[in-house]
Amino acid sequence: MPVFWLALIVLALAAIGYVTGRARALSSGGGNIRNLHSLPAYYGWHVALMVLVPAFAIMVVWLLVQPVMVNGSVSGGLPEGAVAEDTTLDLVMSDVRRVAEGLDAAVASGGMTPEEAQSSTIDLDGLRDRLGAVGVALGSEVSPEILNAAQSYRGLTATGRFWMTLVVLLAAIGGFVFAMRRTRADFRARNVVESGIRALLLGAASIAILTTIGIVLSLVFNTIEFFRLYPAADFFFGLTWSPSFGGGSELGILPLLWGTFYISLIALAVAVPIGLFAAIYLSEYAGPKVRAVAKPLLEVLAGIPTIVYGLFALLTVGPLLLGIFGDEGLGWMQAGTAVMTAGVVMGIMLIPFVSSLSDDIINAVPQAMRDGSYGLGATRSETIRQVVLPAALPGIVGAILLAASRAIGETMIVVLGAGAAARLSLNPFDAMTTVTAKIVSQLTGDADFASPEALVAFALGMTLFIVTLGLNVLALYIVRKYREQYE
C-alpha cells in the first residue's frame, strides 16, 4: 500500500478516535461536562494522539531504515564479478536501483505484468528499450546479475512495505483501543495532551538543532577529506589562489579571506554610520507620522533580493564609480567590478539591518535616562551622544557584528560587483573576490567531486562558518554581558 494511503488511513482513524473518544468521555460522565476531569475535546485529542504518534513514529523510522537494510542485503548478494574493474559498488547499486525503478514504472504503466517483472526468463535484449519507453533511461544494457539484484531489490522492498503497512495499522489500532479503554470521566486527558504538545514543541526544536549538526558534520567530513588531499598549511597560509582542474592547483585561502574582509569592511563603513544615524533620527527626532512612514520604507531595503543589489552594482554603481575613478577621471580603476563597487552596494544592503536593530535598542533605553539628562539642561544631541548611545552601545555593537556576519556570507553582490579575480591588493578599486563567491565557482565547475579543487569548497565553507559563528557568538556575548547595565 502506498505511504500516502497508509497515512490517510491513520489520519482517518485518528479523526474517528477524536469523535468517539470525546463521545465516550461524555457518556462516562453522564453527559455532564462538570463530572469530567478535563474538557471533552481533551479526551478526543488524547485518543487521536494515541493513534497518530506511535503509528507515524514507526512509519518514519521504517521508511528511513528499510532502504539501508535492503541495500545492504542486495549488495551483499551480488556475485563477485558484478563489480567491474573501472567502477565501484556504489555505482553498481545505483544501476540496480534504477533498473528496479524501471521495472516498477513498467508494471505501473501496464507495459509488463508483475509476474514477468519478477521472472528470471525476462528478455534481456529488449529490456533497455522497454524501460526507456516508460521514462527510465539506462546507460548500458542490463546484465543478468544486475537484473537479478534488481528483482531481489524489488522483492525485498515489497515485503518490507507489506510488513510496514501491517505494523503501522496495528500500532494505530492498538493505540486507539488502548486510549479508548483509558477514557473515563476521571482520566486526566488534559495532562496527557499537555505533555503531547510539549513533545511536539521539543521535536520542532530538535529538528532545527539536528539539522545544524548535520550540516556541520557534512562540512567537517568533506573538509577532512580535502585536507587528506591538500596540505592544510598551504591552504591556510598560501598567498595564491589558482585552481586548475587538471591538477597542480594552488589553493591558498588568504587572498579570498582578504577580499572578504576588505569588501565587508567597506560595506560596514557605509552601513554603520548611515544606519546608525538613521536609527537615531527615527527613534529620537522623527515625529510619530514620519516614523510610521520612514521605518517600513527603510525596511523595504532589507526585503530586496541580493541578486537585485548585484544588478544594481553591475549596471549602476560600477559604471558610476568608473566614471569618477576610472581612466577618464582619476585613473585608479580599470573596470566597473571592484571591491569598492561591491562594498558600497553591500553597505546599502546592510543599512536596514543596522538601523532596524539599533532603533529597537535605542528605544529600549529607558525614558528616565533621557529625562535625567534633559532635566540637567542637556540638548538632544548631547543626551544622545553622552547618555543614550553609551547605554545602547552593547546592543549596537551586537547589531554591527550581526551585519558583519551577513556581509561576510554575502555572495551574489560579490559575484556581480567585485569580479572573480582572487588577489591580494590594497587598492579598493581592484577587482577581488570572496570566499563565498569561490565556493560557488568551485562547486559549479565540471571537476570530479573527489578532487581537491571541488573539495576545497567545503574547507572554505567550514572556515567561513567558523568565522561567522565566532562573530555571532561574540555579538551575543557582548549583548548579554552589558545588557543589564541600565536596568
Binding site: 528616565a368 529625562d371 532635566g375 540637567l376 539642561g377 542637556a378 540638548t379 553609551p390
Partner: protein, 265 residues
Amino acid sequence: MYDAVNTEQSVQQTETKISARNVQVYYGDTHAIKDVDVDIADKTVTAFIGPSGCGKSTFLRCLNRMNDTIDICRVEGRIELDGEDIYDPKVDPVQLRAKVGMVFQKPNPFPKSIYDNIAYGPRIHGMARNKAELDEIVERALRRGAIWDEVKDRLDAPGTGLSGGQQQRLCIARAVATEPEVLLMDEPCSALDPIATAQVEELIDELRQNYSVVIVTHSMQQAARVSQKTAFFHLGNLVEFGDTSQIFTNPEDPRTESYITGRIG
C-alpha cells in the same frame, strides 16, 4: 502627629521665584491642569500634595518645560521665573532646565561612573575650566548630596551599582552640581526605605539655604516635615495653597481636610 512642624516654619517672607498664572495643561483632549495660580518663594520648600492623577507631577514638569518632550502635551497660561515668561519663544528650554533642575521619582543614574554622573551637567555647561575645578565641583556636589563619604573611594565605580537610596542621593547631587536656582523633586523618596528617606529629607532641608525647592509627595508626613508651603491639588485644580502649618492644622477647604485626614485620596 505634625510635631515636625517646628520653629523652622516661621519663614521670613522672601521674594517670589516662580509665579504661575492661569495655567492649563492638556494631554491630547484631556484637560489635566485647570486654572492653576501659584507663587513659589525663593529659599523655601514648597510641597505639592494630592491624590494620584491629580496633576501635581504634570504641573511640576511645567516649571522646567519637561513636558515639551511629550508630543501630545500642551501648556497654556503664564509661568514666570524671576519675572520672565518661561514659555516665551525666545526662552531656550535647555538653558531653563539648567536653572531649574529636576530629580525624578525613580533614581536614574546614567550608566557611567559616579564621577561622570556628577560631572555630566558641569561639563555640558562648561562650568569648569580644568580638571581640578571639575574635581572640586564634583566633590562639593557629592558632599551636598550627603553621599560623599560613602562614595569618595570609588568615584570610578558605575553609578548604577549603588543602592537605591544612594542612587537617589547621587541624582540629587547630580542636579545640584549644575548650580540650579530651583530644584524640582518628583516624589524623590517613593522608591526609598525610611532610612534613606530621612537622609534625603535632611538633605532637602539643607538645600533650602540656597535654592527654592519644589517637592511632589504622596506622604503627608513628609510634606509636613520638610515644607514651609503646601499646595493641595485635586482633579487638576489647585484647591488650596498656603503655609504648611496652616494647611495641616486648619485647612480652609473641606476637600483639603478630607484628604489630609485620609477620607479621600
